[in-house]
Symmetry: C2
Subunit: 384 residues, 2 copies
Amino acid sequence: MSHAPATKPSLAGIETPGLVLDEGRMLNNIARLRTRLTQLGVRLRPHLKTAKSIEVARAVMEGPAGPAAVSTLREAEVFTEAGVRDILYAVGIAPQKLDRVAALRRRGVDLCIVLDCLEQATAVTAAARTTGDRIPVLIEIDCDGHRAGIRASDPLLVEIGRTLRAGGAELRGVMTHAGESYSCRGAAALEAAAEGERAAAVACAETLRSAGLPCPVVSVGSTPTAHFARRLDGVTEVRAGVFVMFDLVMAGIGVCTTDDIALSVLATVTGHRADRGWTFIDAGWMALSRDRGTARQEIDQGYGLVCDVDGRPYPDLIVGETNQEHGIITRRPGSAAPQMTLPIGTQARILPNHACATGAQHDRYHVVTAGSGAVKEWERFRGW
Amino acid sequence: MSHAPATKPSLAGIETPGLVLDEGRMLNNIARLRTRLTQLGVRLRPHLKTAKSIEVARAVMEGPAGPAAVSTLREAEVFTEAGVRDILYAVGIAPQKLDRVAALRRRGVDLCIVLDCLEQATAVTAAARTTGDRIPVLIEIDCDGHRAGIRASDPLLVEIGRTLRAGGAELRGVMTHAGESYSCRGAAALEAAAEGERAAAVACAETLRSAGLPCPVVSVGSTPTAHFARRLDGVTEVRAGVFVMFDLVMAGIGVCTTDDIALSVLATVTGHRADRGWTFIDAGWMALSRDRGTARQEIDQGYGLVCDVDGRPYPDLIVGETNQEHGIITRRPGSAAPQMTLPIGTQARILPNHACATGAQHDRYHVVTAGSGAVKEWERFRGW
């Protein structure tokens, strides 16, 4: 095993494929969004579904107790165990999950849930009556037709609010997610998406208040809109997750550059097929994930952009195809870059299309820090 | 929690999303291929990359010691620990991994590796000299341009064979994988792919033998060709993995029907969007995987085919879109089937595009067996 000088982290001893996290880039990404939101006067509620790691959570939260958002009750349970006390479970509640919600709340966590229909509201009020606990709820608003939520004009909003209040649950506010911002291109489109997200949430908050209902929380967020919102009047918190790592999809949207991407998959060259210009690596879709999020973008990055072991991209070299444990490195179609041969045994780092999907394929981060030769290990968890 | 009658496995208490394995279907799938290969007089070396489970491995192997094929050294290590003693690591070797290969072989496992170039052969002979262990090797043959391997006509084949023998490694034979059979449609095309796979491997074995080199093993395999080969003269073993579970891609190729698929993801309905005909479930791409293998087939199954909790498909209901923890059930585009509303809280089972990819997203199988009300739990592992 070779040892690099102390100022350069040595990845030579890491088994491949493995997940590498560049701590400096991560901290820069966090500082960038924190600075923006401080200027806009709004609190950050980081979404921990990308990280699934206690160490990353502590780096991105404003304090060890939160606030935070999660996508699964398993995340809520792990972060509760780690001391987080203010958690939004930001996926519409299934009635069957209310027992686990109640168990977490009994442990002293301020766990807030999300819903968008009367059946859910009725299940929540029934649980509130049974447990004697005023379960806090945000009503989900649809701001762009992306997914779930009530439209701002839907009278159901007030009806749900009244059902919750009458049934003994805590109507805490509204939340929305501008998921369509992932399809935007250019600052003007992103600013418009952010304003649409803000306006929808604030309008619904006003509707509830006009009906005499409380709405202390107005929660919005997606990584693109969080970085392009010009104003956030009326909003009380912004949720974002992937910004901590960034990825090729975010670079394609224009929210970051490839130099900001903190996550990569370390791989080893295992072979070649010269007649086709193929180089094989030991990172296939199992290590990179099946995510092809850049396929619909201007620059299709295949299954990932190939960098040297220090994280510098090779010109136009992508993982063009994958099998379970084989990646095939090719030049981007139409590229004029010179043919490149990486010898067998070479380590390379692959920037991912989608940090959430690629990270989920791994049990741990190998954390590198500029100026330090050491590589730390941070555990990741998964499951529901 | 409701309790179904004892003759029907109750999934009501399973947290969703969760991975369900129908043991009866699995055993039928195994018996079907075993019967075929017995008739053809060839041994089965099941590929355990799909299962990643000791219990499934024991059900599919001819005995507790193997033989078996694996796609990672982690699989080799876990199955060694579980008593398997005849393992083919069927992915081209990276020189850095030879230490782990040696460590496993010292534990008494007959671990055989795969390579297709002189650099790898030289690294293996160097390791053989260092350890004093005649590491057994299969040379990988390309039978259809799918991925790695030497073409049958390439003089490199004999050169690699001589390098291995001269350097003190054990040249054990040749292996090939008809990966292009996944793109075939219809029995004639699949039979031709199987014959192409067989002919390429046997021709290379003859080339080695004509050069005075040993070639006791002639290993072929893919699930489609394993099921469509009409003869396997000259072949000593067949590798296949996904046949244990089957999936929608295999059904699309015509290797199985959807009724043979033993793997599904249990999900719960969490909401609706009536104006769009959407039903939300708590299984997104994290639970289903990002695999869209049927997108290029005649019938695009989206992210999976929706069944009731007992595993009966609903007409034309698929998971049309996914986010991380949201699945959106829609009717297949162009379907004339009636609009279907699954109430909130309903449990559904989603048949996966690709069993290897979907299974990999989960830590355990919930195993259901016809005629038994009990649901067993079998652990899955992952990593490299």
